[in-house]
């Protein structure tokens, strides 16, 4: 039965399933589901430690956000270990990480954000031209709707009104942020 586990065809599918469960929070990806879909001829007692090993490897790679050099070194070490992986399996894992790295990383970033995120932004500019108290005024206003929400929760909509002065005040603050970002991103 070890031969079954060494076969690389279903490994790619297994890694996808493990990623769905561990990183994307997809419900219902059970051990039995993975086994029956991908390794139907392998008994559960053999499948369990195998998938645990693959899950562990995937989590280590994601947790360290390995670049390709680190990945190669790590996987090579895994092939040399007692009870490790084959070099064919290492190749499948390497290919998987290279194509899924960005998406998995994004998922991990979202998991660690506990404040609301900005989900949407729409705006328009109105030209107010009359009011009850003045005969005629021309004060343009910007109306902005911010859609914010926490992971897995419904959005909250915030509708704000800005006159020209306020727009420029905020703009000044945003340019301060931009400056900070430039300083942060400067190569050390």
């Amino acid at each position: 039965m070890a031969g079954e586990l060494e076969s690389c065809k279903p490994l790619s599918g297994l890694l996808s399933g493990l990623a769905q469960d561990a990183f994307y929070g997809h419900p219902g990806i059970t051990e039995e589901l993975l086994r029956s879909q991908l390794y139907p001829d392998v008994p559960i007692e053999e499948f369990r430690p195998f998938q645990a090993k693959m899950r562990g490897i995937l989590k280590s790679i994601a947790s360290a956000d390995m670049d390709f050099n680190q990945l190669e070194a790590f996987l090579t070490a895994q092939t040399k270990k007692q009870g490790g992986i084959t070099s064919d399996q290492a190749a499948v894992i390497s290919k998987f990480w290279k194509s899924h790295k960005t998406k998995i990383r994004e998922s991990l970033m979202n998991q660690s954000r506990w404040d609301s995120g900005l989900r949407g932004l729409s705006w328009r500019v109105d030209g107010k031209s009359q009011s009850r108290h003045s005969a005629e005024i021309h004060t343009p206003v910007a109306i902005m709707e911010l859609e914010i929400g926490k992971s897995g929760q419904e959005s909250e909509f915030l509708c704000l009104e800005f006159d020209e002065i306020k727009v420029n005040q905020v703009l000044k603050k945003l340019s301060e942020v931009e400056e900070s970002i430039s300083t942060l991103m400067q190569p050390v």
Binding site: A62, S63, A64, D65, R105, L108, M109, Q111, S112, R113, D115, S116, G117, L118, R119, G120, L121, S122, W123, R124, V125, G127, P140, V141, A142, I143, M144, E145, L146, I148, E156, F157, L158, C159, L160, E161, F162, E164, K166, V167, N168, Q169, V170, L171, K173, L174, S175, E176, V177, E178, S180, I181, L184, M185
Partner: protein, 81 residues
């Protein structure tokens, strides 16, 4: 995140204060090597009854760039109206 829908004509709130923070997420229990910068914003807004509330949210750097770009667009338009 472009002007995707017309803002509804609800009671609009007024922005009293805008505070920001540039942070760097270094590590978490699910990822030891996060290393991503983010912009955290705290808005102080007053609704039509005068009640003041704090609203906070985070943006990734690309999200912030988009936010900034849209504000610049608003400023350019509001100047010409």
């Amino acid at each position: 995140m472009e002007g995707s829908r017309e803002p509804v004509l609800d009671a609009k709130a007024e922005l009293i204060d805008f505070q920001w923070k540039l942070g760097m997420a270094v590590s978490s229990d699910s990822c030891r090597s996060l290393k991503y910068p983010y912009v955290a914003v705290m808005l102080k807004v007053a609704d039509h009854s005068g009640q003041v509330k704090n609203k906070s949210f985070e943006m990734t750097i690309p999200q912030f760039q988009n936010f900034y770009r849209q504000f610049k667009e608003i400023a350019a338009i509001i100047e010409t109206v």
